[in-house]
């Protein structure tokens, strides 16, 4: 299997990349790690006339802390996220989720920016971005804008990223004291997308849940923020009864597509179960266990 014909461009700075994007417009596609786009091109689900490879663009990689936020270059690979001590300490949900993505070889190529910008509801970073309340830096030909992850994902393969913009950086707040987190993912085998997965990040004040965010992967046309489930738990001392109520609320927003991973009912139930497990694990961690 070989992709269709295209012209290949390997710019070395972001200005060149943006200029190419303007020049070729709708015909152009940005190539990051390539592990979503190239498979789609082999199957002719995508057939761009021009590929703009970001792998040689300077300044799109790396993880640093700045003013209570962690800034992650969009071309940072999954394995670089996993290996980052800064992330493990300050945004541990990101490396936890990255470990569940694909396999070691794919994680050497796949990038956090590609995973987000692709807009695939089966990708894992979108749900993580929703619960960590990340923001994205989108660079256009004239200026850049910073948009919130919440509201960025519009539908399957559809995001707020404009055709003349490139996602260059992901910014994530450093976790507060008393934070617990978990990403629970059910997949059939290594390399598969989630049958269902749930991301949770919460903050305890004593025994009370001061703040919680819950989001689901592959349970609808985009990653879904489970606001009603969060409302059940916010301000409460979380117990099994409340976890069950929250799981039911999370299941109520599921709208998964039936495929070889299961029918809608099964996937919805698995999303509920992943929610229960992720809340329990996040609670344990917040309590220092």
């Amino acid at each position: 299997m070989t992709p269709g014909n295209f012209e290949y461009h390997a710019p070395t700075d972001i200005k060149q990349a943006l200029a190419l994007l303007i020049e070729y417009g709708e015909e152009a596609k940005i190539l990051a790690g390539g592990h979503s786009l190239l498979p789609m091109m082999k199957l002719r689900f995508a057939s761009p006339g021009h590929l703009i490879d970001l792998n040689r663009v300077q300044g799109l990689k790396g993880i640093r802390e700045q003013g209570g936020m962690i800034h992650i270059g969009a071309m940072t690979t999954e394995n670089e996220l996993i290996a980052s001590e800064l992330l493990q300490k300050k945004c541990p949900l990101i490396p936890e989720a990255a470990l569940w993505i694909a396999d070691p070889q794919v994680r050497n190529c796949g990038t956090i920016g590609g995973d987000i910008a692709h807009g695939d509801p089966g990708n894992d970073h979108p749900a993580i971005m929703l619960v960590t309340e990340a923001t994205f830096v989108l660079k256009g030909p004239k200026d850049e804008r910073v948009v919130a992850a919440n509201g960025f994902f519009l539908g399957t393969y559809s995001t707020q990223l404009n055709a003349d913009e490139i996602l260059t950086e992901i910014r994530v707040p450093v976790i507060a004291k008393g934070t617990g987190y978990a990403y629970c993912k059910l997949k059939r085998k290594t390399g598969d997308f989630a049958t269902a997965a749930a991301a949770v990040q919460l903050q305890l004040d004593g025994n009370t849940c001061k703040k919680i965010a819950i989001a689901l992967t592959n349970a609808g046309p985009t990653a879904l923020r489970a606001k009603d489930a969060e409302a059940v738990l916010t301000g409460k001392a979380i117990d099994e009864r409340l976890i069950e109520q929250a799981a039911q609320k999370a299941m109520a927003i599921c709208d998964p597509a039936e495929d070889q991973r299961g029918d809608r009912e099964y996937k919805t139930h698995m999303a509920g179960e992943m929610t229960r497990r992720a809340i329990r694990r996040a609670l344990e961690r917040a309590r220092g266990k």
């Binding site: 070989t2 269709g4 390997a10 082999k42 490879d53 190529c109």
Partner: protein
Amino acid sequence: MAKKNISFTLNGGQVETLVEPRELLIHVLREQLGLTGSHIGCETSHCGACTVDFNGKSVKSCTVLAVQAEGGTVITVEGLAKNGALHPLQEGFMQEHGLQCGYCTPGMLMRSYRFLQEIPNPTEEQIRSGLSGNICRCTGYQNIVKAVQYAAKKLQATGGK
């Protein structure tokens, strides 16, 4: 589409070839450069049979464009043995019966080659997760794990040579 001239280091030597942008690294390695050790299994980045070492990392060469290799360094299974002596990993796969049909073996070897540089003294669990991107349909993996353990021991004893 206009072909591009690419040049990169392959198994220690410099190679130059003309490729279409759409050509995958695995196809260029096998069909143009004649190195048929790396295998095409699934061509969908699942099976790992096409795993090669690219710029110091394991990649699935069915999901890398050949043009992306420009200026880079690639090692394939043909680059493992030195001066006719098998690499400790190749020896391990032989001694421990780490293969049956052998189709997945070049990918297993190349992934293990990089993995043992990342984690020179791995636990069984680390080996299993480190090789989780490589599928074997014959062995049940037991002897592959043993082969990697064999090589790890030998490499440690000889200081990674």
